[in-house]
Symmetry: C2
Subunit: 305 residues, 2 copies
């Protein structure tokens, strides 16, 4: 399993992916993303591409980071607790987009590569793994959008065998779940972590395939919903539901907690926070409304393909 | 140290405190608080008093809860990890108020009582402790408000000896600190936890003294700032800074995490979330503005008395 790894190749691909996603999104939005290059005092750095108050995107970030450190935080690997505390290298591209229109779903993509090095004096080989996935969070859902997104996820994984899509789809449903609300975050997608079982070359190829499916998975949805008219009611519901995104990311999301624990760049990590969020006490949608349908129809784990 | 405890007396006082605080706040606001009584499937329940869209309070909750459970969550006691997993009883009153005016500070109060019972077959005595405190989070600060609040905290603790106030004030500065921002949450106040050193009667008396100082500490501040005019600029800054409150409570606050982990009532626990919150990328106040002064003058640990 522990074949030679080529971290430079992963890094080069991540930067290319970031650049091509930003180009695609600028084409949709009409406004440019700003660019912030940063260095991390503890080692490594990143390149943050951010948009605020765009034509379509109210706020969004497409973030590359590559950090090294002397001690892997416990949040880095849920399944390999024995690696906590080892010297590590972590790189990835992470993206969250909050469109202004309540008819365009919020979307998240992450692809990442970790290497945990043996402690001083150990002759063990480094342990490495890939992780990633993408998932969709509608406010006012459309079956065809959810189906399209899941079909693209399925197509990304199909070349590697028929089992990956159902497995990673289920993993996504389990991971993006708000226990304290007993509610999924959205309609899901795919999620994988601690992934090295195909060897380096094919595990990397699978991760590339997922990352490169992001634009075909999300852009057509944004394009067909961008001119759908909305008003105060839809905006209120969107801002209320965005609260769930905040709750998930700050309480549960391993990537966010890893970033904050490992001394990552706070303004980049918290790019996933929505621009405007509302909380209301004990609010429930009226029965038989489009808002109620989000809960009854879309926030239910189901087979969308 | 393990004198007989009277949990019923603590419970009765907590309910009286909740009621008198709500009365005082209704007098300020002009609008009534709603009342929600709830039961927890795992044992216990609570009484939530909540206001939204009031005359002064944009959102606020004064929450009583009394829960029992078979296994103390690890967040319950930072200093007594050996007690995690024991049968427990926890009761408290918790309050967060988000005024609409950016000139009235957000405020938080909590008083709580925990008992951890010995595991089955053990002859150990129950272990109990009190905790609590209050702290102030201004957006546009006033020295006299910060000083008044801290004077009231000091007065609450003075009858129990001269050392408690400096100790609990420093503990508050340490606890309400956003590590990922390198920023205190506000101007502080007092905080204590795992407190039993005065024996049950006097530890309870100290906790009562803190809780009963809440109205004299905060009401005069709200009253003298409520008619101060504000506009879009002040509102924007308030909504931006409220993001820090969300970040602290969801990432760091032990009370919030304890509530969510112990199967507490989510809508009550998340009453601390502000009604409207904004996040902006990498925003910094212009030098020599009132907004910059919040950072340079108020968000600095100092002796306000």
């Amino acid at each position: 399993m522990q074949a030679p790894v080529d971290a430079n190749a992963v890094r080069a691909w991540l930067l290319t992916l970031q650049s091509s996603i930003v180009s695609g999104l600028e084409g949709l939005d009409g406004q440019p993303f700003l660019t912030d290059q940063w260095e991390r005092p503890g080692g490594g750095g990143g390149l943050s591409r951010v948009i605020e108050n765009g034509g379509v995107l109210e706020r969004g970030g497409v973030l590359f980071s590559h950090v090294t450190g002397p001690a892997l935080p416990p949040t880095a690997s849920a399944q390999r607790p024995a690696l906590a505390g080892r010297p590590f290298e972590a790189m990835g591209v992470s993206l969250v987009l909050h469109p202004r229109s309540p008819y365009i779903p919020t979307v998240h993509l992450n692809v990442r590569f970790f290497v945990a090095y043996p402690g001083a004096g150990s002759a063990d080989a480094p342990v490495w793994w890939f992780g990633g996935g993408m998932d969709l969070t509608p406010y006012y859902g459309f079956d065809e959008d959810a189906t399209h997104f899941h079909q693209q996820c399925q197509a990304a994984l199909a070349p590697f065998g028929p089992d990956f899509h159902p497995r990673f789809k289920r993993w996504c449903d389990e991971y993006f779940f708000l226990k304290h609300r007993n509610e999924p975050r959205g309609v899901g997608g795919v999620f994988f972590d601690d992934f090295s079982e195909l060897g380096f070359e094919q595990s990397f190829a699978l991760t590339r395939s997922v990352g490169e499916r992001f634009l075909p998975a999300w852009l057509p949805i944004a394009q067909r919903r961008r001119d759908h008219a909305w008003g105060e009611r839809e905006r209120d519901f969107q801002c209320y539901r965005r609260g769930r995104y905040v709750e998930f990311n700050l309480v549960f999301d391993r990537g966010t907690l890893f970033g904050l624990q490992s001394g990552g760049r706070t303004e980049s990590i918290l790019c996933s926070m929505p621009p405007v969020v509302n909380w209301r006490y004990n609010w429930q949608p009226e029965p038989d409304t489009p808002e109620a349908r989000l809960y009854s129809h879309f926030l239910q784990a189901r087979d969308w393909v």
